[in-house]
Structure formats: C-alpha cells, structure tokens
C-alpha cells in the first residue's frame, strides 16, 4: 500500500526541501504544544503527584487490575470461539443450495450486523429479566460478542469461499465428491487460509468490544479502572488508571494486529494462497 504514495511527489529540490523542513517543524511544534498542554493540565490538576500514582505499588490494586485483565481475556476467548463457530455455520447456511435456509441465514446476518452491539448486550442483561430470564453479565457480554462478530465473520468466510476459483470445486465434483466433501476438503481449507488475516483482524475488533461489558457492569478491565479511579482513599486516580488501562488495551490489540500482519505477509509469499483483497474490517 505504500508504493503508490511515493508517486505523489517528486524527489524534493532545494526549495521543496526548505518548505518540507518548515512544514515538518510546524507539525512537530503543534504536536509538542498539544502534549505540553496535556502535561500542563495534568500537573495543574494534580494528576502527576505521587499520591495519585501510589496505587501502582499496592498489591491489592495490582491483583484487581490483573483480575480485570483475566475477565477481559475470558470474555474474549469465549466470544471468539463461539463467534468463529457461529460465523462458519451462518456462512455455510448462506452458501447452501436450499433457498429457505439461505434466506434465514441472510436475514440473521443482516439483522445482527445492523443492531448495535451495546443494544444487544443491554437486551440480554436488562431486557431478558422482564421476560423472566436472568443471565449473568458474562453470559450477556459473550452472547452479544458471539452474535455480532459471528455475523461479521460469516461474511468474511463467505467471501473467502466465493474467492476460491471455480475450477477447484468443479474438479472436486468431477472426482465424485459430494457437496459436503467439496466444502470440507476443498473450499473451506483454501478459504480459511486466504481469509486468515481478515479473521484475526476481526478478532482485534472483538477484543476491543469486550470493553463494552463495562456498560453492563461486567467486571472487566475498564470496570476495574472506574472502580479504582473513584476510590477516594487512593486519591481518586481516574486519569492515571485510565492511562495504564489504555496502555494494556493498546498492547493487547497491537500484539493481535502484529499476528494478522505476519499472517498476511506469510500468505503473500506463498503462491498457493488465493489473493483476496485483504482489508482490516472497517467496523469499529
């Protein structure tokens, strides 16, 4: 993706170089000014004092944050496995030869892609009790993650299967395989391989979405952050805690993104993998 951007400008001459240096200096000045304002405001409101950072050293607080992290990862793991399974099922349904099955699966996919994940989670946690069904926050979070990401992943799987050249399935049918055999032994393995980077990228989205559990009081990382941040005996260190939690989230997501990039590079080197335009999902 970087190649065409270098085409947008010539090798700078003396005047362009001078102009670019000025533009660079201005950019740097603006960024530094923004950072300076932030640091100044933090210092002025006492966010840099030792008192509001003491909690970093307390064992109980460390354990609480670790517990939040574990809860986040639990929701992520359960949500990811279920979403992958649901996505595969829905994709198979949408690719089916039976029209009713196809339309039902299409409807489910479109529906859960259109409803906001927050509303889904609210529905399970706050809505179901008025129908007499009580679910725990964990179940509500995982169900929401499963349905939304499952619908998105179904589209990813489907695109992967459709991208396999027709000759592959024709050859498999010619060998006497049945529909299920063609799908299982020929189409799916190739589809999953070519879509692996997209799938991992969607898992990054899923990981970020676990933070929505905060809104229905699932005790994950962000919830712990608010709990600690409003603790008066620690000096209400809301902003320091938020910074630490942000760093944890960014690290986790970057690790997963790095995996996606690595898979993409590897598949690009391998001529056997079908080239599909791989984009990180646009959905947030």
């Amino acid at each position: 993706m970087s190649a065409p951007t270098a085409v947008l400008f010539d090798v700078p001459g003396p005047r362009a170089r001078a102009r670019n240096t000025v533009a660079g200096a201005v950019t740097l000045a603006v960024v530094l000014a923004l950072v300076a304002v932030l640091v100044w405001r933090m210092a002025a409101t006492g966010q840099l004092e030792g008192r509001v950072w003491d909690w970093v050293l307390y064992e109980n607080v460390q354990l609480a944050i670790l517990d939040g992290l574990v809860k986040t990862l639990q929701a992520f793991a359960a949500g990811a496995v279920l979403a992958l399974a649901l996505g595969a099922l829905l994709a198979l349904g949408r690719l089916s030869d039976h029209r009713p099955l196809r339309s039902v699966c299409s409807l489910v996919v479109e529906l859960f892609r259109a409803v906001p994940l927050v509303v889904l989670m609210f529905l399970f946690y706050y809505g179901l009790p008025s129908a007499g069904i009580n679910v725990s926050t964990f179940v509500a979070v995982v169900l929401g993650l499963m349905l939304y990401n499952g619908a998105v992943l179904a589209e990813v799987f489907r695109a992967g299967v459709l991208a396999v050249p027709r000759g592959q399935s024709e050859a498999a049918y010619a060998l006497g395989m049945r529909k299920s055999g063609v799908m299982r032994f020929v189409l799916l393995p190739q589809a999953v391989r070519s879509m692996l980077p997209s799938i991992v990228s969607q898992l990054v989205v899923l990981l970020k979405d676990t933070a929505l559990g905060f809104l229905i009081t699932y005790p994950e990382l962000l919830f712990q952050a608010q709990f600690l941040g409003s603790n008066a005996s620690l000096g209400s260190p809301l902003i320091p805690v938020a910074l630490v939690v942000a760093a944890i989230y960014i690290t986790l997501c970057l690790l997963l993104s790095a995996l996606a990039n690595w898979l993409e590079r590897r598949s690009r080197r391998n001529p056997a993998v079908i080239a599909v335009a791989v984009e990180r999902p646009d959905d947030a």
């Binding site: 065409p4 947008l8 533009a23 950019t27 960024v31 259109a114 609210f122 529905l123 933070a211 929505l212």
Partner: protein, 214 residues
Amino acid sequence: MDVLFGNLGEFLTRFGGTIALFVCSAIASLILGVVLAAMRVSPVPAMRATGTVYVTLLRNTPLTLVLFFFALGFTKLFFYLPFFLLAVIGLSLYTAAFVCETVRGGISTVSEGQAEAARALGFGFTQTLTLVVLPQAVRSVMPPLTSVQIALLKNTTVAAGFSVFEAGGFYRAVNERGGSTLVALLWVALGFVVLVIPLTVLQRRLEKRWSVAR
C-alpha cells in the same frame, strides 16, 4: 406496541439525539480523517509519523475507553463541556482513524500513471493529491467509507452508556414509567435496523454505479 406508543415522544426525541450525534460526528470525522490521510501520504516525515502514531493509537483503543476518558476525565483535566459535545469529540477522534485508513486505501487504488502524469505536468504534492488523485479515489472509497459511517451510527449507542439523551437510553425512561425493558430495547434495536437499511442501500447503489469505471 403500548411501550412504543405510550412513549412515542420520548422515543422520537432520543432517536433525534442519536441522529444529531451521528451527523455532527460524521462530518467532523470525515474532515479530520481526510486531513490525516493527506498527512500520511505527504512528503514531510514528521507529518507521516504523526498520522501513523495517531491512527495506531486510536485504532487499537476501545471506543468505550475513549468515551470513558471524555465523559469522566475531560472535565477533571480541562473545563466543563456539555456531554453532547464531548461525545461528538470522542466519536470523531475515534472514527477519524478509520476514515483515514479507508481514504489511504482508496488513494492506493488510483493507478500510478495518474499521479505520474500530474507530476509530469508540473503539479506539486497538494495539487496532485487534491486535483487528480483524491477525486478519483472517492469512487473506490465510497462503499467502505459508508461502512465506517454505519459503524459510527451504531457506535453512538456507546455514548448512551455514559449519558441518557440518546436512543440507547430509551429503556431506562420506559423502565421508570413501569414499562417492559425488553420490549423497549427491542424497539430500539428495530429503530437502528431501520436507520441502517437506507445507508446499506445507498452503499450497494454507489458500489454498483461506481465500480464500473476504470
């Protein structure tokens, strides 16, 4: 039905709030996103680095955390702003990172010859980008950009978790009046489906109409 019609005013006001939040954030995020994309392809290394760091940080932070900061931390650090404005700022800053990546992807779909021809005519970077490359990139960028904006529309509900003025908070108002939360939430879900459908239709149309060229 009673839940909807008994609270119709409330329902419509709240979806009005959602749409206002969406429109403001959409405009702000599009402007900021295009500026960021231009920075990321510019000849100035400092601009490229700034754009890259911004996009990497914002794309890998949960939106809930961004809004968490703006809802609870911003007033502590700076000054008081109404929550609507804070939500617009948070949503735009977050969505701009995605808009930037989409536009940048669109720039790379414009064939190299176009930019080379522009340069051969003596165009500078700004002229090449704004007169030749971006107008052509708009074509391929429209469908994925609509996806980004649909995601933004749905993300406005995250703001509802921190405040009450918006559609996601409808169930609370119904609950206070003793109505069924479940039914209220189902209506909200349906409301979003109804809002998203026209955008999806628009996206499909643009895709069909514009994918032919080139």
